[in-house]
Subunit: 305 residues, 4 copies
């Protein structure tokens, strides 16, 4: 596996040149565009890593998997899906248009920005601090990394430049689809997006989902099997934003990307994979990461379809 | 004129029953739905009033005429129209959809909410207080009423429930079309919307625009003739929100409505008219007010088309 | 007047260079991009012309004024406006989007393509031939030109390349808003768009509307005053497509443009103006024509707002 | 398996009451709303059927799987996906809005109506007859049923009431994304939608895709494995129209529905399933069929996520 992974990561080293780092948050623009790495956590044989696997980046939208799993566990799927849909859409992750267009004005799925914000609002915690503590705890338990922390520079940058997310949240508020204090909820959202991880963390996160919610490193059952199952299904249809359909054709495994450059993939019963590569395509997905996943999917016959 | 006005207002007394007071701002819902009144300020013969002409209501969107006139005077038409369009649209006054859909994501005209917010942002004042002082001064000079004031209950209600306007403002911010501090600009917006007026104030306001910017009561040239001319033209195509085309066919004079129930109309060289009637149609226009204007337009042959 | 008109047309001779002839219909692309002319028909003093006033072009959307006037006369305003709106919109003249978006899926106004197609469908004639005979007769009576004819090359080009108009018509059919045979109705539509006219024809057409429906050349009352009044109002808010608001600010008179390069303007009680200039701006309006109208509006103080 | 299938179909007998037969094509409204049946074709153990498994219905959108497989085989995936996307969308199967909104105005995926029409246009056949012969041949080879035929009454009804599909096709033509004769291509489209099948046909069709393109009944390799793989992936993200995301969560297998009431599902390496139930939900998917598939997915652990 190590040889295969090295060969795949090496072969994808230059893919990043087709992409660009996210620029809408100043701190993200500072990411190393040419960092390319991957980790695999195989449920039978354990982990291996290659390339810039210890490059640290912020989770960004990958963190939506954490808050979704948390909300499904805490609130139950009925409550969650009464407030947010499960269907993919052709709009970009921060689009607001369809929220106005389609009554009842609820987000189409929990992995776009508006959906993730609603998901956070459902959590029964007192304030931003308590709410973030729960998300952060979920991050630690899913990744097995007890020392995860927020990149404060990114958090501040995120918070200070998040006009679009504020617009989404206030729109949701205006149509009665966001309970609670807008700034307080957004604070948790920005913090979870700013959680730092590396490829190994995302590989174990994927492996935990692949193992029906049991972290294969710590042995802890982090979320019930049904929660892992739902999360994988939604990753499959909505995880790569409006590039999810193409990703299903070219790669064919459930995965969630983030504009920090990470992708976490979960192949049920087999493995989790974490990749990094901050250079993104036009839809916000890591160019090198997708290419690595495509190569691994082919070599290891991971495709689920 | 007094007899005619009495007869028209009397004849429209029951029209309000086809409408409803605005409910999205709690304080507005408390308005007297059955208040119906009108004032005419004729440039030759002076003013007369009828019905509930002294009923006080908040100006709401009628105030957009004030801030537009102010910005045109202070910044010039080139600057204003480099940041906001001049074209009507089919969407409702607080719609966000087209802001996302149409690059360069600038508001289609200055009389919808997003446009009015951008207009305020262009004013070269230091903060909300200074900015509102200028708008308020414009209100006094346009209406000739030196004792206009903000309805504080409505202002607070407006500010605390203005999720949609916050969403619009943050969206504009996110696409780089709103300079300055969002909350600060919105503060002015909510305050100007909460300015109280009665039919007489709106009649003189209309008469000032009708007299090419010269207040016929005070004799002051409040804005240059070209500013009054532009404002009248934009009122004609955009003043009644997405009901402006129908209003042109049925009434045929430049006018601006507000969800507080007021309408101010300006017939160049002839007169200004102010009406009140807090019961609104589905597009946010005063039902009784439109009917009164239609009757007056027919009786006095005011139609400009 | 002749001197003024010569001076204005001369001064606008080079304006065409900022525009381009319509290309979506091959025959239209063959128009003389640099043809620039104008005619004025003053209700007191009669007509005068300048520049390429005898250049012949197809009426295109200017013909929508004919079919609208005809339908208002024959069917009545209630029936017409139960099937088509009266409100301007921000979309281009051949846009389909809002037809799907906004129930009850009726065209927003009679001067966009979908609206004009619905208007034609309301006319109580047996077939395309009879229907076109009525429109053509209206053209002759409105312009006073008894020898108007269809440019057959443009008609065929129009019919053979009118995919978007077919799409609009079939969409209307699919939502139950188009009675009758689609191809048959479109045949009339393409024919009326292909009617040839010159500036003098459009000036008299405008003058007929300006004179409340009485053709000032022939003395015939072509349509009732109310029909002329409605038509002028809709020209004012919708006549220049999605550039109508800007045209109201810069020119300020009711007018209807066509992608053949013509514009017909109607100033109530004063005059009709016809201009030609096949080079168009991005919204489909004649660049030179708009500039001529702007200059004439300023010089003759025609602005209605 | 027979017992399980009987029990599942019996248990879902009354589910149809929550749905309604399609009404937009008059002939479809005549379908037996309460017909409920299913067939399973297991790649190891062969077929079994239950309920109204021999009820015949038209394939409608299920046929899009045939034309997509055919085009992928004949034209190659590069050509197909240069003209149609692979991504799911939130709009209904016959929506036109996004075709206008999103340059380059190509259909988002091959399983919505506009996409299927484009796919047919890519096939290198001379005319409607030859093109349909190829699709029909693909149907026979995929289902192993050599006597499939078109329901002529549905075909005529389809053709005569297909205003929306005509609108879609003409729109595609207008933006240069549909080569060939519109009516000719639509003729094939209506014919393939009118192909009659029963649950057994759809089960074998699904089994052929599940067996990487080899029909398990006839032993023929109908399409290359890669074509089957792509088709399954697109069925998974786009097969149930804008209900595909929810179907992934609740059922979790690649499937394609049709408004005739059929669904064909393909579980790689295991089985194909065909269901029928003409009563549809609001998105156009068979209510009873989805419920049967959900039960089978749970009982047989078919979920792929």
């Amino acid at each position: 596996m190590q040889d295969l992974l090295d060969s795949v990561v090496d072969g994808c080293r230059e893919e990043w040149q087709a992409g660009r780092t996210a620029t809408y948050i100043p701190e993200l623009a500072k990411a190393r565009a040419d960092a390319v790495g991957a980790s695999v956590f195989d449920l039978s044989s354990g982990g291996c890593s290659s390339g810039d696997f210890d490059y640290r980046f912020t989770m960004q939208s990958v963190s939506k998997v954490l808050s979704l799993s948390l909300a499904l566990s805490v609130c139950g799927e009925d409550e969650v899906f009464s407030r947010v849909g499960m269907d993919p859409l052709a709009d970009s992750f921060n689009s607001i248009m369809r929220l106005e267009m389609d009554a009842p004005h609820r987000p189409h799925n929990p992995l776009i920005n508006s959906g993730a914000i609603v998901v956070l609002s459902l959590l029964p915690y007192r304030d931003a601090e308590e709410r973030f503590a729960a998300v952060s705890d979920m991050a630690s338990r899913m990744t097995g990394n007890r020392s995860m922390s927020v990149n404060e520079a990114v958090f501040r940058s995120e918070r200070d430049t998040a006009a679009r997310n504020r617009s989404l949240a206030w729109f949701l508020k205006s149509v009665g689809n966001l309970d609670g204090d807008v700034d307080d909820i957004l604070d948790t959202y920005f913090r979870q997006c700013s959680l730092e991880a590396d490829c190994r963390d995302l590989a174990v996160l994927g492996a935990t989902l692949a193992a029906d919610g049991m972290n294969p490193v710590t042995g802890e059952q982090v979320v019930p099997p049904r929660v892992a199952e739902i999360t994988r299904a939604i990753m499959a249809t909505c995880g790569m934003y409006n590039g999810s359909g193409e990703f299903a054709v070219t790669v064919g495994i459930p995965a969630k990307s983030g504009v920090g450059g990470g992708i976490s993939a979960a192949v049920r019963g087999r493995m989790g994979i974490g990749t990094c590569g901050p250079a993104l395509d036009g839809k916000g997905n890591s160019v090198a990461g997708m290419r690595i996943l495509q190569r691994l999917s082919e070599e290891l016959r991971l495709r689920i379809y």
